[in-house]
């Protein structure tokens, strides 16, 4: 009797063991399978060869691919009625994580996310996270602008900086202000002149704006638009300029002092791996020089060794948090205090920034 019971027990043990083994194999097989099927989709607003915004997102995608994860992209997706269909098709065709890389995809991304709770969505530069499977991310480009302002303030002879701006959204105004504050710190007589072009990408308009600013006496040109036209115009006119979004040095080797580079690669790889391994969670990411989402291109030797050293130190201090781009006292155009002495602007204020600081000429278009 005892013997039999023992046997039964042993048999039960084996049975359980086999059950676990089989389920383990199944699980393993399943998870390996799902790993192999794991796919990431990207939606781009421009062509991959724009040498600016979309080009950099595409570089990020290449990094994800290099990390051994399958990816798909759709380029030049208009921000109108077509965006929703493209995002939905990516979700339907087995993509597990989808990056939508332009502000105008905000509502379509959230709408599709509602219908695909198992698919993760990452929307660049937006502020709506209506469902738990939607994250947003952007970069603290203003930190790069602080470095540009410092360089511009030192390099200008006419004390006039020309700025080609796209749309009067907080992101752009923040850049203008960060640049102006940093330039004023090294050169109190600085004036920032702005031309609004109301486009992100229009080489013709951007070149005209650059020329108009040069004609008004600006000898440093910077842009918050995506084409290489402004730096090429600056090169022709013999004034300084800065590259935007990607390293534009080869388009204007003499004129470009440095470029602000959007480096999405580390973030994309990290999020893709997290989604594959099941550790992805909803986030609102705003990374800067510290995390490397904002990087600087090579510094032009025309700046001189001393200035390069200064700027490199400032870059380190911005990254470590020792220096903040918006440190008080900061005044608006009318002289009202925005940030008190010794304080720094918080993220809420930065995110909603909609007034110019003192030293910027003109009004924000309404």
């Amino acid at each position: 009797m005892l013997h039999k019971k023992n046997l039964e027990g042993k048999f039960k043990m084996y049975k359980n063991f086999f059950r676990y083994l089989i389920s383990a194999i199944f699980l393993l097989g399943f998870s390996v399978n799902s790993n192999a099927d794991f796919k990431v989709g990207f939606v781009y607003v421009g062509p991959t060869g724009d040498h600016g915004w979309t080009f950099q997102h595409h570089e990020g995608r290449n990094a994800v691919e290099a990390a051994g994860i399958k990816t798909t992209f759709v380029e030049s997706v208009p921000e109108g009625a077509d965006a929703e269909r493209v995002i939905r098709q990516l979700a339907q065709s087995g993509h597990d994580l989808i990056f939508t890389t332009s502000f105008g995809y905000m509502d379509p991304t959230n709408k599709v996310a509602k219908d695909f709770p198992n698919v993760k969505f990452e929307h660049a530069t937006g502020y709506k996270r209506e469902h738990s499977n939607v994250s947003t991310y952007s970069a603290r480009f203003y930190e790069g602008r602080t470095l540009l302002g410092h360089i511009a303030g030192k390099m200008t002879k006419t004390n006039t900086i020309g700025y080609i701006a796209s749309f009067p959204i907080p992101e752009v105004i923040r850049g203008i202000n960060a640049m102006t504050l940093a330039a004023q710190k090294v050169n109190p007589n600085i004036k920032t002149k702005i031309v609004w072009v109301f486009t992100w990408y229009d080489p013709g308009k951007e070149a005209e704006a650059a020329q108009a600013l040069i004609d008004q006496g600006a000898d440093v040109i910077m842009q918050h638009t995506d084409s290489t036209a402004p730096v090429q115009t600056a090169e022709k006119a013999g004034v300084w300029s800065f590259g935007q979004a990607s390293d534009m040095q080869r388009f204007a080797p003499k004129s470009i002092l440095t470029s602000i580079i959007d480096d999405w690669a580390p973030y994309y790889v990290e999020r893709a791996i997290a989604a594959r391994d099941g550790t992805w969670n909803q986030q609102d990411t705003w990374h800067g020089l510290k995390e490397g989402m904002v990087a600087m291109g090579p510094y032009n030797s025309a700046m001189g060794a001393d200035l390069v050293k200064e700027v490199e130190q400032l870059q380190k201090d911005l990254a470590s948090g020792k220096v903040h781009s918006f440190t008080g006292p900061i005044y608006d155009q009318k002289g009202n205090i925005l940030v008190a002495e010794g304080k720094v602007a918080d993220d809420g204020m930065l995110a909603g920034m909609s007034v110019y600081v003192k030293g910027v000429e003109g009004d924000i278009p309404k």
Binding site: E75, S76, G80, Q89, D107, F167, I169, S354
Partner: protein, 348 residues
Amino acid sequence: MALYFFTPFIAIILTILGGGIIFYILGFNPIEALKFYFITPISNLYGFSELLLKATPLCLIAIGLSFCFKSNNWNIGAEGQLTFGAIVGGGVALLFYNQEGFYILPLVILAGAIGGMIFALIPAILKTYFNTNEILVSLMLVYVSKLILDYLVVGPWSNPEGFNFPETRQFSDSSRMPLLFEGLRIHAGIFLALAAVMLSWFILYKTYLGFQIKVSGLSLKTAKYAGFKGKTMILVVFMISGACAGLAGVGEITGPIGQLHRMISPDYGFTAIIVAFLGRLNPFGIIFASLVVALTYLGAETAQIFLQIPKYTGQVFQGMILFFLLASDYLLFFKVKILSLKKNELRH
């Protein structure tokens, strides 16, 4: 005559063959690529509904254009009329923001049609009274309308809670097109397109105006000799054309988009010119043509998603359709004859 309606099919077949060759040269399996291009997008209900959604504005605009083209009036600016229609319709929708009422949507739609009509009247009046070229005027007005839209969505009409982003508020439900099925984007705008098809067939083939349009198209001199009032007719065809484009614009903003911003149309007004000719300026042909051209948009997306074929092939396909259509027309209407001179003739 049968051949005349057959050439569009030849053009489509040649385009598919040409596309296959391009895919082969690019290093893709042509059969597979064409399958992803022309079959996969409409292999399920959702895809089919998206095809109809995409074809709706193309069909509406092309119907309007057929009136102009049939009567020898070259309205190239449907894109501008679409944009201005969307501006006027969208303005009314914003005026009724957060209000309820069954009458709001019809008002918005009507405003859109009137907007497009007014915008089309500009080249028409300039043509009839000042003898300007309607091709240039209507084309240049496209840029004017887009600048007006830019100004409005950046400035006075921008969403007060929208952080200055260039877009208006989302319209209230009372000014949105009702959806036909839960979960699909296809909306009541498709009935506007179908109504336009029926109405245009009636006008073109059953009324005196239609007769005038056809005669003027075939021979302006005959039309003058017959005593038709050319000026009124020009104004009328432009108004019809503009109203249709305006309806297409208002259908987009009250349908899938739901607000005004800078990207309301991926150049539907220009693509519709291909649709009108592919449909042989015939109302029922245009339905067919709008579906074919809409498919080239969807196919380009699917082909990029599944095979990473560059999305610009869509535009290449649209270009090829028009090219092959014109080429087959040329071969149809002109006889190619290889001339050889006989020796006898030379001697003389």
